[in-house]
Symmetry: D2
Subunit: 183 residues, 4 copies
C-alpha cells in the first residue's frame, strides 16, 4: 500500500479525553506525524494487535516526531462500551498515550469522527503527515513492517519535492509555513 | 507442578449462565475432567492467554472426556463488568463453551465462588478430576504443555491406584462407585 | 489423535552418539516414557518447531520420568549433514539432551532406524511408554497441548488396566515385570 | 537508532553467488536501497529471525526500490558451512533473493567483507541508501518496526536536503548525479 494524496485530515469530533489534561486538536500537532488508532474495547483484533502496536510505537518513536492517539469509536454495544468502562480499560491495559472518545452521533450508531473519516470499522489506523494531510487510512491489522515503512516515509516527507512531482495534479500547495489544499 | 491431593471441589455459586440452557452443577459432570477458566473481561492476561487456551482445549478434547467452563469472577470494576457487557463480550470473542457468572457477594468485592476456592486473582485455572476432586488450582498464565500434561494425567487417573500409593496419608478412599474423603 | 496399540518399539540403529558418554539402548530406558525427536539439520520445521519443543520438554519434565532423545535421520543432502556438521550444530543450538545419528544404510538413502519405524519424513515424534511400547508415531509439527496430553497419559498409563479393557483384542499381556505381546 | 552519516559503503568481496546468474556489484544497485542480511547457516538468531525477515522484505517491497541480498559470512565452523551445504540450505529454506558468499580470507577466520565492514558477528544488517552510502550497520535481531522505519526513511531520502542540514560537518557532497564523500 502506498501513501495517499494530500487530502486535509478532518478535525476529530471528541466528547472526552483520557491521558491528556486538555483536549487536543489535530491542528496543534502540525510538525509531527500523527498515528491514530481507532478501536473499540470489545473488538478482538484491536486488543490483540492494534493497541499493542500503538504501545510499541509510543515507546519506539520520539514524541517530538510522532504523536500516538487512541480513538474509541463505538458503533455497537454502546451501553457497555461507555466512558466508565473505558477508563477502567485504559488503567488495566496501562495505555499511557492520549485517548479520545469519538463523539456519539444523534440517531446514528456511527460516531461523528468515524462518519467524517468514513471508517470501515475497527481497528483502523489513520496516519496524518507533518502538514496535516491524511496519508493513510487502513482497516484491519497492519504489520509492524508496513507501519514502520509508512512512518519512515512520512517523517522524511518533503512537501516541496512532493508538489513538484505532482504539479499536474495540483493537489496541494506547500511553503515553509505549511501546506494548503487548492490553489 | 504436580497434581494436588483428593480434596472435594466445592460447588460453584453462580448468578447467571451463558451458552447453556440450564445451570450446570459440578456434580452433573462426574465422569469428565472439568477445566474451569476464571477470568475477568478487563484482565489483559485472561484475554491474551487464558481464554484463547480455553478455546483451544474446547476444540481439541472430546466433550465426552473434558468439560470446559468459563467463570466470570469479577472482583474489581464491578459496575462496568456487568452481565450485559459480558454477553456482548462472549459474542464478539465467539466463545462457545458454557460461561458462568460468579455470584457477587454482599459487602465483599470478592464473589462467592472465588472466596470458596480462595483464588488469588485472574486468570486462574481449576482442574477437577472425574471423581469431583479439585486437583489443580493455578494462578496466572499456564503453558499449553503444562495444561496438556495435567489433562492427560487426569484423564488416565485411576483412583484405586492412587489410594494404594497414598494410603499412609489417608487422603482419600475410593471404590468402583467413586471416591470419598475421610475414612 | 489417540495413543496407538501395544506394539513393541524396535531398537534404534545408531552410528554415533552426542551428549552421552555411552550408547543408549531403548531397553535401558524401561520405566521411563521416551520421546524421540527425529530431525535433520536442514529441515526448517525441525529447527523452528520440533527441536525447540524438545528443549522445552527436557526442561519441563523430570528426567526420572521422561527421557528426551534426538535422532538425526538424514535421508537427503547426506554429504553436508555429516557428523562434523551435526556436532557444530548441537553446540550452536545448545542442545543438551542425548542425540543419536541414525545409521546410514547401504544402497538406500533412508537410514536404518527410519526404515524400521517406517517414518514419513522429518520432523517425526516417537513416544514410547514405560513398558517399551511405541504408542505415538507422528509426522510434522505437533502442538505443545497434544504432546503434553500424550505424555500425561503415558506417564499415568497402567498396563494392567489397559489389558483388562482391551482383553477381547488380545493386544498385549502385562504383569508386574512388564508387558509382552502375543499371549 | 538513527541513520548514520554519508559514508561510502565498501564494495563486497565475494567468492560465489547463488540465485543470481551474474555477480552483483553494489555500484550496479545505485538508485535502490540495498538491505544486506549477513548470516551463517549455524547461527540460531539468523535462522529464527533475520532470514525470515529478509524473506518478508523481499516479498513486501518493490524490487525496483529495495534490493535484498544475503551474505554468508562464515567466521567459525568453516569446514561444515561450505558452499555445498549452503546450496542445500538455500533450497530447503526456499530463499529466492540473491545470496553471496563472503570471500574467505587467508590466515584469518574472518572473511573479507566482514573485515571491511568490521561486523561484530551474525546476524548483521547493512542498509545502503540510493546513493551508495552505508547508513545502517546493526548487529543482532532488529524489529520489523525498526527495519520498516529505516527503509521508509531511506526510500524518501533526499541527499540535497541532507547536505544542507549537515553542512558544518562537511560529511558529504551531493548533486543531481549523486553524492561523493570529501569535498
Amino acid at each position: 500500500m502506498t501513501l495517499g494524496p494530500l487530502t486535509q485530515a478532518p478535525e476529530l469530533v471528541i466528547s472526552a479525553w483520557y491521558n491528556s489534561k486538555k483536549p487536543i486538536a489535530l491542528e496543534q500537532l502540525r510538525g509531527k506525524v500523527v498515528a491514530i488508532y481507532c478501536f473499540q474495547m470489545l473488538c478482538p483484533g484491536c486488543i490483540s494487535h492494534s493497541l499493542p502496536q500503538a504501545k510499541k510505537l509510543h515507546q519506539y518513536f520520539s514524541h517530538e516526531d510522532v504523536s500516538i492517539l487512541g480513538l474509541h469509536s463505538v458503533f455497537e454495544h454502546h451501553q457497555v462500551m461507555n466512558n466508565q468502562a473505558l477508563e477502567a480499560f485504559i488503567g488495566e491495559y496501562r495505555l499511557s498515550f492520549p485517548i479520545a472518545v469519538d463523539k456519539p452521533a444523534v440517531k446514528n450508531p456511527i460516531p461523528e469522527t468515524m462518519q467524517r473519516y468514513q471508517l470501515e470499522g475497527t481497528p483502523s489506523l489513520l496516519l496524518i503527515d507533518r502538514y496535516g494531510y491524511l496519508r493513510v487510512e487502513a482497516f484491519g491489522a497492519i504489520s509492524d513492517l508496513q507501519v514502520g515503512h509508512w512512518l519512515g516515509s512520512l517523517l522524511s516527507f518533503n512537501p516541496d519535492a512532493f508538489q513538484e512531482s505532482s504539479e499536474d495534479n495540483a493537489i496541494g500547495s506547500c511553503n515553509d509555513d505549511g501546506c494548503s489544499i487548492g490553489q
